[in-house]
Symmetry: C2
Subunit: 171 residues, 2 copies
């Protein structure tokens, strides 16, 4: 499966009707995108051409976003993973824009969500060690005003997958 993904320019995000074969293909590819067309065709019980056409359509529809290599954080010396719970007092647009920019600029921020409820944001931050986290933290609060921060340190990654559960036969 090597192909030119255009970084998914105009993906028609909205709903795409998947059948069982599509789901099987997706489920294979999100486990191992290095499978060859032949292998995929084999395992879904179809032949190359239709499988190839489906994959192309799934890419065009934006169901398949990209194809990436997953690296081992420990092998890169990134031994500390923090989940950061953030409360803010500021709720205006300008603040949000600056906060967002600060997060996007920092590569150690792997994930960031705006939440419902009394905690406003959660971040996942992957760094070398606690000192590196502190540098990140100081730098962040130096750039944008934050009311309250709680950092949860991961002791053990029990499970981590890039594979989404693929719902069966709906829509």
């Amino acid at each position: 499966m090597s192909e030119h993904l255009p970084p998914n320019a105009g993906a028609a995000k909205t709903n795409f009707r998947l059948d069982d074969v599509d789901r099987k293909i997706l489920s294979l590819l999100q486990e191992d995108a290095s499978l060859s067309l032949d292998q995929i065709a084999d395992r879904v019980g179809a032949s190359k051409t239709p499988v190839w056409n489906r994959i192309r359509k799934l890419r065009e529809a934006g169901v398949i976003r990209r194809q990436v290599a997953i690296l081992d954080p420990e092998a890169l010396g990134l031994e500390a993973c923090f989940f950061v719970l953030i409360r803010t007092s500021e709720h205006d647009k300008d603040w949000a824009a600056r906060f967002l920019k600060a997060l996007r600029e920092r590569p150690e921020v792997i994930e960031a969500h705006r939440l419902a409820g009394d905690i406003d944001y959660i971040l996942k931050v992957q760094v070398r060690n606690a000192r590196a986290y502190d540098r990140f933290y100081q730098s962040l609060i130096g750039e944008v005003k934050i009311h309250n921060v709680t950092a949860l340190l991961s002791m053990e990654e029990i499970k981590a997958t890039s594979a989404l559960p693929i719902p069966d036969a709906t829509r």
Copy 2:
């Protein structure tokens, strides 16, 4: 970049000395693993063979874990993402093993960490909607005893990447 990743059988996890070229290669591959060897060689300013050898070694050393397709959760109808904070009263081995098994068995659990501090675990759970989350929750607490659960609902994914920050020139 299509190749037979053996699901990374005996990866020598421990520290691997990376040079600048390795880091450049990793950084390219974790953004787009569909790049061809030629393209990678071009961009790192080397030729195919050495690049290929480096990639092979990085895979064998477990620095590159796998190659996957990243799907769009919304396109799959998975519109709700929850972060779940869990406190438990049980701390024996048997309970932990059952809890772990319960998490690994449930595909909607994308990520699970054991934490330091007063919250014991955090999960990331991706489901179709709030009702699906409730089903997950009921099923989980039916299977293992849990003292206290707080669910944080994501309203907006501000940032999400599979790319780790690659530290420069250390080790």
